[in-house]
Symmetry: C2
Subunit: 184 residues, 2 copies
Amino acid sequence: MNVKILCLGILSFGEMTGYDIRKLASEGRFSHFCEAGYGSIYPALSQLTEAGHVTFAEEAEAGKPNRKIYSITESGRQALHLALSSAPGADRFKSEFLFHSLFADKMPDDYFRTRLAAKISETRATVERLKSSLEKCDHEPSGFALGFGVAINEAALAYLEQYDETVIMKAALEDSGFMESVDE
Amino acid sequence: MNVKILCLGILSFGEMTGYDIRKLASEGRFSHFCEAGYGSIYPALSQLTEAGHVTFAEEAEAGKPNRKIYSITESGRQALHLALSSAPGADRFKSEFLFHSLFADKMPDDYFRTRLAAKISETRATVERLKSSLEKCDHEPSGFALGFGVAINEAALAYLEQYDETVIMKAALEDSGFMESVDE
DNA sequence: TACGTCATGTAAGTCGTTACATGATTGG
DNA sequence: CCAATCATGTAACGACTTACATGACGTA
């Protein structure tokens, strides 16, 4: 799933600008399973235009760069279809957080607790975002994808929260141990 | 988390060959949150050697390429520590499957059902693999990371299976509708 | 005999990220 | 007035993938 196919896929839902595509892909309702920045979207759009898979209508506005509203062409739809007809590659999850967590025992005490707290609030925010997208969504397949995101992020959140409690308990036990010996 | 830091991290658990690192990173107990192939590991190891972050002991064996057993140096540990001391970047999930699922309604009927079935058995296998790794694991932080993997993959599996049932029901209803009109 | 595992590496190419460049408008 | 949003794009760089090259040993 390279950026070109991603653009084609997004444009198959309606015409829009490169700016809009990036928004959908990295903040919007597709952002939980893909990622693309300006630096890859704009060149992709140029190439797709050259190949005849998309066209654009230019809207000139004073002072601003010309707004280009892209739409997918028939040949673009065919290219998308072709890409969709071969089996999807494997899902990939990359987590620096989990990598860092591997060394929790070699880092200062509060290190992991801080990271964990951050990850929990981050995940909570993601769940909220996905749920509200899901509520607004009336397109069934998008709903399926959003539901998937909600399911795994809720599971992640539950796991992290449960772990957090055990960490807090351990810390409390240690603290009370210290208290007894340090308390004057 | 580039490949160099990944290598450093893995080597901090014990000395091993580039071949072993790749196994851990793309099939073993780290593979659910990172990924690295030979083509990135071997060059990374050379660079780390140049930088003095790792050393290797060479074992010559007739006919085979020399086996190089890498170990992390003190400077390597420092580099790892440094990398770990800044906040981890955001987790990233990339799913071609979810992207494809977006167009389920525009593809042939059995298309999505086939993909879904494949994804279910794939996820089931992942859950099994992670669980068995978890059982064998006696290193707490690794256990935490594995547990995370189990949690999200189990959630994904449950979601997919539940969805699968509704799809099957729909198909059955449609089939029986067809049956009545087609049955001679 | 053919495949899988062990084992290392390179070279070319693709792909994407980051930083830069520009600039108006709107809301706090 | 400052930050964010809208809006487009390029250039350099870095990172990773894919394919290639080599070869022994064990096992089905």
